[in-house]
């Protein structure tokens, strides 16, 4: 590799761009933990302690009679059996990927050495949150049924507090993970391993990588849980209900326990892992964007130096999300209702909590953000946070409009059931397609307004930070929104427990009311999950570019050489990239200003900033030769002073719609959504078929089941569903992980950007469509079951059952998994950016596709 010597050219007026490295500027010895950091861990601990308190309170409640306890134990055993097996498979995946990341970090030097560990902790905490959530949920169902035998309020309180354990555990563990990683990287890493303190850029980028661990765990939980729950559901319905005529939740149905377990593994553990990832991802991406905003956009007014500005922008999402935990906790205590409450009153009980927390977040943001950020920026960020919350609520209630049986779209589907299955399917698809307009419009408007409010049209990086803060705002009340979401399956299981245990009519009526409310809150929760995925994805896209920059940095850092006595040494990395070594005054060096990526030519020069000041140098990208600026009259005009921004990277990597690699990437992203969707739905079909065969076998070989004299082999059905889910989740999950890497290596950064954009746009729309169409079909069936259009057993009902069967994998397997697909592809791209940056140009060149 040729060594390029750096000369000392003249500098003059700027006509182009320069490079980006910004030094820390803070003496490592003077690096003290900022006071706000304590808010983050304290709030995280409060969340976890509160969750523990709720858990103990729930466990102190009566679990009812022996039969209720027996049924609850079946469900618990099934859930643990599922989790054990799931975690075994996931552990293998994590070991393999960690090993790959270790090779990337220590062998290829294209990733930070801490990334494998960050990846593991992200996955571990996400899994832990799912485990605690499911442990609580499976313990709470019988207690909720027993509570409902006393009063509606008691039933609601137990179910909702059990959901709150999930919500608080997710936000508590996520914030604790973020807080501890920040502490370690900021304060202790350089002490333990020597060297300079990490720059805030490096800290945020390394932390962002733990998002891949969380995303991977979330994908397995969502896809596996989704396949499990629908295999059990379809098996229970097709054989139990349709063939044998056994009602829902009848203990004679061998698949009924698996069905109840499925509610927990899909809607509690799956949803928890999903939103853990969204929550952590939005905070981490916004932190990274905040730091990058200073790097790219310069030091804003009101700050003394770049470091203090970066620290302030980094702090805002962490502090706001932390305080959001406390406000969610306050909201949880607002959720109470009176005996004999109507559905509207029950809904109001939950809305009090959600709206109360949201309003408080806005108030707190108005107080806290001006304390952290200069007033000129803070109010824009406050507006972005408010917009995020509003967008979340709009998406949630838009989802409710398109899926609730109280509104026109679902009523219309039920009306079509009278004409037959075909019209019902057509109308459901139409309603689902149309339903996409609310979340997409809300996200688009929210994105534009939050971008604009943070001055994005003048300062791109700051605008992106605003969008990131909007997503943080949307998820700041996750503690309570997830509680309302996890509450649904708990109430559903409580209803099943009451039915199987033969509890009196008034108890069943109460659990039915709680269950019905849970269906609506679950729809709202899914809306939040989808909306946050879309908003977070823009932040993650920007974070990807930041990771690309860091990837080039690492590539250079791994190869630079020091020449004796030379002040500057540049290493030609090929494809227009140069590594630049700048010696420090004390003979040391700083990695973070050792890179040059951008091409100089007759009209453009690149420049490196050290401590915010330009280093006088010009590197010619052609052939690694160097020419003295003074030899060329043009050079005197080529002094770049603006650090390279996002657009410069886009330019360098030719991320333009005219580049076929981008378009091919977009197509690949769209294809990913469709192929992934097909694979998950096929997986449900295969897993369900195994369950159908097993239920039929048990009816055939165990004649006492139908007479009620023999207990079905519930465990076998649970095992079949579990095995099916684990077997079937591997291929779609591998596809989601491998595709961004392969596309990156073949099509480079431009292709990856296309892939992410294609995946985001088509995945978002498809996820909304599938979730809402499935929800609408389900509720249309439930509407008919209330007696409309002939009620149960009628032709209309038969059509609606078909619609519901089609919609089941739509809304519970593929739709929710697409959220994670979008985010996981982003996260994988971020983590593997260094690999792509280093090897993609060589592969592309080898294949004759340019750089």
């Amino acid at each position: 590799m040729p060594i390029a010597h750096i000369f000392d050219p003249h500098v003059g007026p700027s006509s182009s761009f320069s490079l980006f490295a910004v030094a820390d500027g803070i003496d490592s010895a003077a690096r003290a933990l900022p006071a706000w950091w304590h808010v983050t861990w304290i709030c995280a601990v409060i969340a976890l302690v509160s969750a523990m308190g709720f858990y103990r309170w729930i466990m102190a409640q009566s679990e009812g009679n022996e039969r209720m306890q027996e049924i609850a134990q079946y469900v618990r055993d099934g859930a643990y059996a599922y989790l054990r097996r799931q975690y075994r498979v996931v552990a293998i995946f994590f070991v393999v990927v960690s090993a790959l990341l270790a090779v990337m970090a220590f062998g290829l030097h294209v990733q930070h050495p801490l990334v494998p560990f960050a990846f593991l902790t992200g996955g571990f905490f996400s899994g832990l949150a799912g485990f605690f959530g499911m442990k609580t949920a499976t313990s709470a169902s019988a207690r909720t049924a027993q509570g409902a035998s006393h009063s509606l309020d008691q039933g609601l309180k137990i179910a909702f507090r059990a959901g709150s354990v999930m919500g608080l555990t997710v936000v508590g563990l996520a914030m604790l993970d973020i807080s501890l990683w920040f502490l370690y990287l900021y304060k202790f890493h350089h002490v333990l391993f020597g060297g300079e303190p990490m720059s805030l850029e490096t800290i945020t980028v390394v932390m962002l990588c733990f998002g891949m661990g969380a995303s991977s765990q979330a994908l397995f939980a969502r896809v596996g849980g989704g396949i499990y729950t629908k295999a059990a559901d379809v098996g229970a319905d097709l054989v139990g209900k349709v063939e044998a005529g056994i009602p829902e939740d009848d203990p004679r149905n061998p698949a009924t326990i698996a069905d109840n377990v499925g509610d927990n593994v899909g809607d509690v553990a799956g949803m928890g892992a999903d939103l853990y990832e969204s929550y952590a991802g939005s905070i981490l991406a916004t932190m990274a964007l905040g730091v990058a905003a200073v790097s790219f956009g310069g030091v804003p007014e009101g700050f003394d130096n770049a470091f203090s500005a970066q620290l302030a922008f980094l702090s805002a999402p962490m502090v706001l999300a932390s305080l959001g935990i406390l406000l969610s906790l306050a909201g949880i205590f607002l959720v109470t209702t009176k005996e004999g409450a109507s559905m509207k009153e029950l809904m109001w009980a939950l809305n009090k909590g959600i709206w109360g927390s949201s309003a408080l977040v806005v108030v707190v943001a108005m107080v806290i953000l001006p304390m952290l950020l200069p007033a000129s920026i803070a109010w824009g960020v406050v507006a972005a946070v408010t917009i995020g919350l509003v967008v979340g609520l709009i998406i949630g209630y838009g989802t409710e409009y398109y899926t609730s049986a109280e509104y026109k779209p679902t009523k219309g589907i039920a009306d079509q059931a009278v004409s037959g299955t075909g019209p019902l399917i057509i109308d459901g698809i139409a309603a689902g397609l149309m339903s996409a307009w609310i979340p997409i419009t809300a996200v688009c408007i929210g994105m534009m307004v939050s971008f604009g409010m943070c001055d994005g049209f003048d300062n791109l990086a700051m605008g992106l930070y605003g969008v990131g803060m909007a997503s943080v705002g949307m998820l700041s009340t996750l503690g309570i929104t997830l509680a309302t979401d996890a509450y649904g399956p708990i109430a559903d299981n409580a209803g099943g427990n009451a039915e199987m245990a033969g509890l009196p009519k008034e108890v069943r009526e109460r659990t039915d009311a709680l269950d019905s409310l849970g269906n609506t809150t679950a729809a709202v929760g899914k809306g939040f999950a989808i909306g946050s995925a879309a908003l977070t994805s823009l932040a993650l896209l920007a974070a990807y570019v930041e990771e690309v920059r860091v990837g080039i940095h690492r590539e250079a850092a791994a190869v630079y050489q020091v020449e004796e006595g030379a002040g500057y040494t540049a290493v030609d990395l090929g494809f227009g990239k140069y590594g630049l070594y700048v010696a420090g005054a004390d003979g040391s060096h700083r990695e973070n200003y050792t890179i040059s990526t951008l091409r100089s030519n007759a009209e453009h020069a690149v420049e490196v900033l050290v401590d915010g000041k330009p280093v006088d140098m010009i590197i010619n990208h052609l052939g690694g030769s160097v020419r003295q600026a003074t030899d060329d009259p043009l050079i005197s005009q080529l002094v770049a002073t603006t650090p390279a921004g996002l657009f410069d990277f886009m330019d360098y990597y030719q991320v333009t719609l005219m580049n076929p690699k981008v378009l091919v990437g977009i197509f690949a992203g769209v294809l990913m959504v469709f192929v992934f969707g097909a694979m998950t739905m096929k997986a449900v079909g295969r897993a369900a078929m195994a369950m159908v065969m097993e239920v039929r076998r048990q009816f055939r070989e165990m004649p006492g089941i139908m007479e009620g004299t023999t207990t079905p082999d519930y465990a076998r059905c649970v095992a079949i569903s579990t095995a099916g889910a684990q077997r079937e989740m591997i291929r779609p999950s591998l596809l989601a992980v491998l595709a961004p890497v392969l596309v990156g290596l073949l099509l480079g950064v431009a292709g990856v950007m296309g892939l992410l954009v294609g995946g985001l746009c088509s995945g978002f729309a498809m996820a909304v469509f599938m979730a809402n169409a499935g929800g609408a079909w389900d509720n249309a069936k439930k509407l008919i079951e209330t007696g409309q259009h002939g009620g149960k057993g009628s032709d209309a009902h038969k059509s609606a059952v078909v619609g519901d069967t089609v919609g089941d994998p739509f809304k519970d397997t593929t739709g929710p998994s697409l959220n994670i697909l979008i985010k996981l592809m982003n996260m994988v791209s971020i983590v593997f950016a260094g690999l792509v940056v280093k090897f993609a140009p060589e592969i592309s060149s080898f294949l004759g596709m340019g750089q």
């Binding site: 139908m706 007479e707 409309q788 002939g790 149960k792 209309a796 009902h797």
Partner: protein
């Protein structure tokens, strides 16, 4: 073990002797000992002392014996075809309604000789020996007398049928909760019967699907001929849900 006599009369007729109690028998007939059969079963409990050589009941003790392993004889068919008409009305006991998954609801019967205050039109699901669904001006008593009247050219010796719901909304449409296939045809039939007072009845469907059958029952079941009528009143939905919840949930499945 006691021997019970059951008369199955849901579209097909059979007199069956069994050592099972009615609930066990209903479950057995609906789902079998191995899950190979599905379907609603309706049967009467017949006075166990009733004997008839015509239906080979003098052999019932000999034929309906426990299995060699001591388990009770579940079913021994004693007579098929035109059984219902040959058992005297006085021998009919409870009516047992069995769902597809074997849940049994037992209805007590009583002699019936009342004229309904309701004017109709009525819709009847004929269950045995006819299987049509018909609408008619005639109330259950008149309908029974008319269709079993030996003086008419078209009659049956005895009829078993259910009075089914035909509630109309304010627009004259069949109430939306009723699970009938082709509701607009039923509305047309009702309108035709109303518009033509001389038309005593109209066949809605010669072989109607009995989907969600138990959800369609109005006043109850009628078994009768020209000599008398046995009426088996059907509980209202609130009573079914409250007092027979398990059965009603199962019955609501279809």
């Amino acid at each position: 073990m006691d021997i019970h006599l059951y008369l199955m009369c849901y579209r097909t007729e059979a007199l069956v002797a069994s050592q099972l109690e009615a609930e066990e028998f209903g479950s057995y007939m609906a789902v079998g000992t191995r899950k190979k059969t599905f379907g609603n079963v309706v049967f009467f409990e017949i006075d166990p002392t009733f004997r008839s050589t015509e239906m080979h009941l003098e052999q019932v003790e000999a034929k309906c014996k426990p299995h060699p392993d001591g388990t009770p004889r579940r079913s021994k068919y004693m007579s098929l075809y035109r059984v219902m008409e040959r058992v005297p009305l006085s021998a009919y006991g409870k009516l047992h309604l069995t769902t597809r998954d074997g849940r049994v609801l037992s209805l007590d019967g009583r002699d019936f000789d009342e004229d309904f205050s309701s004017e109709g039109p009525f819709m009847y699901a004929e269950l045995c020996p006819l299987t049509s669904r018909v609408v008619s001006h005639l109330n259950p008593k008149a309908f029974t007398q008319r269709i079993t009247d030996p003086a008419t050219t078209v009659h049956v010796p005895r009829i078993f049928f259910a009075d089914t719901q035909v509630e109309l909304d304010k627009d004259g449409r069949l109430a939306s909760y009723l699970p009938y296939a082709n509701p607009s045809h039923i509305e047309d039939c009702l309108r035709e019967v109303e518009e033509l007072p001389n038309k005593l009845g109209k066949t809605v469907d010669r072989n109607p699907p009995l989907q969600a059958f138990y959800r369609t029952i109005a006043t109850g079941f009628y078994l009768g001929d020209s000599t008398g009528i046995r009426f088996y009143p059907y509980p209202d939905v609130a009573t079914l849900d409250a007092e027979h919840h398990t059965w009603w949930r199962s019955a609501s499945m279809g």
